[in-house]
Amino acid sequence: MAIEAQQVDCRGCGAKVDVHAGLRTKTFVCEYCGSVCEGDKVVAVQDMQAKREEFKPWSHLRLGMTGEFLGHEYQLLGRVRVREETWWWDEWFMLSQTGFPLWLQEGEGGFTIFRVFYPTYPINPWNAGSFVKLDNTGGNAQVRERGTGTIAFIEGELTWGAVPGDTFNYMECHRGPTRYSIEYSEREIQYLRGESRDSQEIYNKFGIQERVPPPLKFDDDDDDDDDDWQDDQGHQPYQAASSESNSMGAGGKILVLGSLLLGLGLLIFSGVAEGFSKHVKSYTFKAKAATGKGDGVLLTDDHGKPIAITLPKARGAYELRLAASPTGRKGWRGGYCWWTQVAFLKKRSKTQLKKIKAYLKKEGEKMDQWTRYQKVHEVNAWFGRYWGIDEGERWNENAFVKQHYFRTKDPGPYYIRVYANNCKDYSSRKANPVGQASITVAIYKNVWMTRWMFWGGITLTVLVLLTLIWRFRSMFSDD
């Protein structure tokens, strides 16, 4: 049974217009002159003949049709065509005999029935994340679409004020068949909750005999194709919403998972990689008076010569582990330090040596024992110890072990020169630690340079965790 109509005068042409919702009818459209009336004012005029054809619904629904929903009969009273930049959808307004409103959204070849509701957990649509929780009917809903809709056409009557050309922001969320729609402006946020319905089911409820138009595919990359997907009634379909714009799609999940695995893998590998290296040889140097000038002390072999080593061919880098032997402490407070330079040398060729010799002669200088060597790699390290008493507590700080990684393109014979020098401070000079020190240089081959792996792994893992935290915050954010 259709809802009893009352007749009101069109504010534009005076024609009698049927309205069904009594005082609650806020907007009605005169089908004769196209006046969109709100109260006693004409707020817009539509060219009904042209617009009705242009904005024909995709389905076969028409105003005045009745169908049973939620156990009661509803009548289609109004329709609003909403346009986005490249697609559109229809909002059908339907009312029960006792004035309960429902909204039937028609888009993408399907239908959703909406009711207004107050969410248990109101969200602020302006800054909502990709997942939202609005009520306790289930888990989080995924935000599938956001945008700004423009009212393109109105027919029939509505219980709210609407004018063609009006715009509003909207946000659509999905969770299984449950749908949430949030329409918002600075003045109002309206929350709607609904369920998607099969098109054939809607047709059956309204007793429509025609076949449901096929859901048309939409190529959202090509806006110029709009005309291509009109059906035989000249209908255009609703554009499939991009679900990837605001959510993490399959690609995103793979990327995050892959990054996490890579980060953890790098961390683990950097921890175990040390076990892959092989010890080549160790050399211990004891203090010897430097043969050069200054106050440095040369640590060489027992013969005061650089040690000849052969660097084997290595798949990875070499590692140099320097371990200095600490000298003792004297007194309650004190300290000393020294700088150490470990140089890898190669013998110069005879031609080179000849040229250098000639040059030195010209300058009036003489060759020393190091002239015949060319430095190809150098490691500088600081060793030292400081101790004292603060507030009755003894403290001691020292640094006697250093690691250094290096690569050389040419395995083969090298010479090592170790040179140390007291720090400039008074206590170091007084203690003369270098004079008492010794240092062990251990060489390892097939070394993985894992420091970048360690920091890369840390960075990657932290980034992934921050991403996940941000996403979870978005999922459970209430505003």
Binding site: G22, F69, L95, G99, V116, Y118, W126
Partner: protein, 218 residues
């Protein structure tokens, strides 16, 4: 059974007015549709000029005079209603009597809220700064209040018995919000200082059952 107050008659047509409640100030004549205002002394002159605000068909499942239950246990009688127009449409506030207490059932686009009035114990916040999406925290011992609507509205009609005389046609500002699972609503009159605060529970359609005859469906 409604009782008839002595000396109470419609100032327009003279028809006797049944009143369930001794201290209500507004009555709407069921014969001529006129509205009569009465003071606490039950004076037929009221505040001077009787006003008329005939109600139109508000197309609702509820009617004045019906009774029913909320969530199957709280019984209520519908004494009157107020029709309010706002830019988006209309809403109806139904004046309910629950026991000896007054409640307001707001009906707006298919959602229902059972409101109870709350005293305002703190200075009014600066309403100019409010807009949908903003929030108010810790005011008047209320939970954090997320604003969902701000606008201007006016009473356009009423019927039945009301505890106060509605100011027909006079615009007021309303601010609706959600907080702590409840709906909070504040109405501020044009003078900017007189305000009413209500806190309510949202109800589903199914939560409200009309037990008197002519109970409506969806």
């Amino acid at each position: 059974m409604p009782t008839q107050q002595p000396n109470m008659a419609c100032p327009s047509c003279g028809a006797p007015i049944d009143a369930e409640r001794r201290f209500d100030e507004v009555y709407n004549c069921e014969y001529c549709g006129n509205t009569a205002f009465f003071t606490q002394q039950v004076s037929a002159e009221g505040d001077g000029t009787p006003q008329s605000a005939p109600i139109a068909n508000i197309f609702s499942r509820f009617k004045v005079g019906q009774h029913g239950k909320i969530r199957g246990k709280t019984e209520f009688n519908i004494l009157g209603n107020v029709q309010i127009e706002y830019p988006s449409g209309y809403w109806t506030e139904w004046h309910l009597k629950v026991g000896e207490s007054d409640f307001w059932l707001q009906e707006d686009e298919g959602i229902y809220v059972l409101f109870d009035k709350r005293a305002i114990e703190e200075p009014l916040p600066a309403i100019e700064s409010f807009q949908a999406g903003s929030s108010l925290d810790g005011w008047n011992r209320l939970p954090r209040w997320f604003i969902i609507e701000v606008g201007k509205a006016k009473v356009v009609g009423f019927e039945g018995q009301l505890p106060w005389p509605p100011k027909v046609g006079e615009e007021f500002t309303y601010i609706d919000g959600l907080g702590g699972g409840q709906v909070i609503s504040m109405e501020i009159e044009a003078d900017g200082t007189t305000a009413a605060l209500s806190v309510g529970d949202p109800l589903e359609y199914e939560d409200i059952e009309i037990t008197s005859e002519e109970a409506g469906g969806w």
